[in-house]
């Protein structure tokens, strides 16, 4: 060291590298700020209009009343909040085990050729428009559920959660699949060399090592489920009542927002309430994300 910098061109190159490195960093920071800005704008958009709700409606009514009847000035949003929680919970109950199993199937068990076919096909499911899923739900799933449940209408939480499960399946399973595939082989070797079988290796070593990625897949799938509208609206029944069974037409935050937001006057309390519901939706999903993260942290400490 301690030598003078090399020839002129080399110095230039170094300066250029350093400069591009800095520039790149700035671009990255800028992009992150931009993402945050979009986030902020969406928040402001919802909150600015949303808070106007409370000029006419008490917090208590909005959050604790189950009576949503805006034509008669009743603005209780509890039904939708509970509905969203129930629907998300139910969907995750179906989707997580199936998706993780599919991820294990893809990453650990299938022969290479099948994997090469299955991965794009799973991704393909994401590209099918929600209305197609909704339509299939309406024309195939619901008649079938009606037959097995004996209800006159089988729209409701079960139908919606099944449709959502199918919709989030590719998201959760593909991202988990990548997370599992990214686990270094040396961990598998170590486990197999100790005489453990595949079940033990996968459940005790591979899945724990991929836990972070799987959690994150679950979060993305969950947020997709929470925010999905077009398909849910076709199979949930859109009736502002608390569901007393899985087959009772009901409504969730998203379905209610999408059904009504373009059908009410811009400056009405009703409209404000719908924006507020959008904000609540975001709050719920953030709470759920925090919950999932905490569960995950509790699960393991060494990753």
């Amino acid at each position: 060291m301690g030598k003078a910098p090399g020839s002129g061109t080399r110095f230039d190159r170094k300066a250029r590298l350093r400069w591009s490195n800095k520039l790149f960093r700035m671009v990255c920071i800028g992009s992150t700020l931009f993402v945050c800005l979009v986030l902020l704008c969406i928040l402001v958009l919802m909150l600015r209009t949303g808070v106007l709700t409370f000029a006419d409606v008490s917090l208590r009514e909005f959050f604790f009343s189950t009576n949503w009847d805006p034509e008669n000035e009743h603005y209780g949003a509890l039904i939708f909040i509970l509905g969203t929680l129930a629907l998300t919970g139910l969907t995750m109950l179906f989707a997580i085990p199936i998706s993780v199993i599919i991820a294990v199937f893809l990453a650990e068990m299938t022969p290479k050729w099948l994997r090469h076919i299955l991965r794009p096909v799973l991704d393909l499911l994401v590209g099918i428009p929600s209305v197609v899923y909704g339509f299939l739900g309406l024309t195939i799933l619901i008649p079938w559920l009606r037959d097995i449940s004996g209800h006159d209408l089988a729209d409701g939480l079960l139908a919606a959660s099944i449709v959502l499960t199918i919709m989030v399946l590719p998201t959760i399973s593909r991202i988990s699949d990548d997370a599992i595939a990214a686990v270094p082989n040396k961990y598998r070797d170590a486990a197999y060399a100790l005489g453990t079988n595949r079940f033990q290796t996968i459940t005790r070593v591979v899945l724990p090592a991929a836990r972070g990625g799987i959690m994150y897949a679950v979060i993305l799938g969950m947020t997709r489920a929470i925010g999905e509208t077009m398909a849910v609206v076709m199979v949930i029944g859109n009736t502002a009542q608390l569901a007393n069974s899985l087959f009772t037409p009901t409504a969730v935050l998203t379905s209610n927002i999408v059904m009504q937001i373009s059908s009410v006057e811009f400056d009405s309390t009703w409209n404000h309430g719908l924006y507020m519901m959008g904000f609540i939706l975001l709050a719920i999903s953030i709470l759920m994300i925090v919950a999932v993260r905490m569960l995950q942290k509790k699960g393991g400490r060494y990753s």
Partner: protein, 259 residues
């Protein structure tokens, strides 16, 4: 190729005309050796000659490398381990392995060592504690880590990781232990202790070790196998080989005796 001398006891592993291919590349050529029970066998030979490869065929870890093809027979205790009847997990449980590169799980030190016993059905906390302590002591790591067994194994130093992997393999109590340069990054004192351990273990276990260290091979092994380019050049009782190697290449290799 010479045959082992007279001191060798009954063979527990018999390898017969073994050929191994990685795709097009032939890594093992017509390997036929016998490994005696309750003794230490050393594999020596230049880097890339196929020592690790052969070691991995003994507990079928090569199954996991795609594109690997095997011909010939490997019998352990009389059973062909590549036949359909055997269960690969049982083989691996009975034939423990320490890899050339330390590969601790991303778990705590304790969990690493307790992993094997737990998977094989030991769940009593007390029993596990005992096994963990015993194994770590055998691998000369106990004193360094006993204060914080909950620490992540990944934060250990290179040599500590290597000893942890030895402890992990010991915890399963295998009948045969395969060690791939298990002391390569250990200091002389730890190396000595691991060698002592091997010496002790050989009363009950069969040990196969890969080493680059001629002195180590001479010191601890009863039988030595010398490889070159995937072929067995010579194998015999260690003292014979180091005293008067038959093949001139063996002579050349071990006389560069400076490891």
């Amino acid at each position: 190729m010479s045959t082992p001398g007279g001191t060798i006891v009954q063979p527990i592993i018999e390898i017969n005309k073994l050929n191994l291919y990685y795709g097009q590349f032939q890594a093992l050529k017509d390997v036929s050796i016998e490994i005696p029970e309750r003794a230490i066998t050393a594999f020596i030979g230049p880097s890339g000659c196929g020592k690790s490869t052969l070691l991995r065929t003994l507990n079928r870890m090569n199954d996991r490398i795609p594109g690997t093809r095997i011909e010939g027979k490997v019998a352990v205790g009389g059973t062909d381990i590549y036949s359909g009847e055997v269960h690969v997990e049982t083989i691996r449980k009975k034939i423990g392995m320490v890899f050339q590169q330390p590969n601790p799980f991303p778990k705590s030190i304790y969990e690493n060592v307790a992993f094997g016993p737990k998977q094989h059905g030991i769940h009593s906390k007390k029993k596990l504690d005992e096994i963990v302590e015993q194994s770590l002591r055998s691998a000369v790591l106990w004193d360094e880590v006993k204060d914080n067994l909950k620490r992540s194994a990944l934060s250990l130093s290179g040599g500590q990781q290597q000893r942890l992997c030895i402890a992990r393999a010991l915890a399963v109590e295998p009948d045969i232990l395969l060690m791939d340069e298990a002391t390569a990054s250990l200091d002389p004192v730890s190396t000595f202790k691991i060698e002592e351990l091997a010496h002790e273990l050989k009363e009950r276990y069969t040990i196969v070790m890969v080493t680059h260290n001629m002195q180590q091979a001479a010191r601890v092994s009863q039988q030595t196998v010398f490889f070159l380019d995937g072929e067995v050049v010579e194998y015999s009782a260690t003292q014979d080989m180091f005293a008067e190697p038959v093949d001139s290449r063996t002579q050349d290799y071990i006389s560069g005796r400076f490891g």
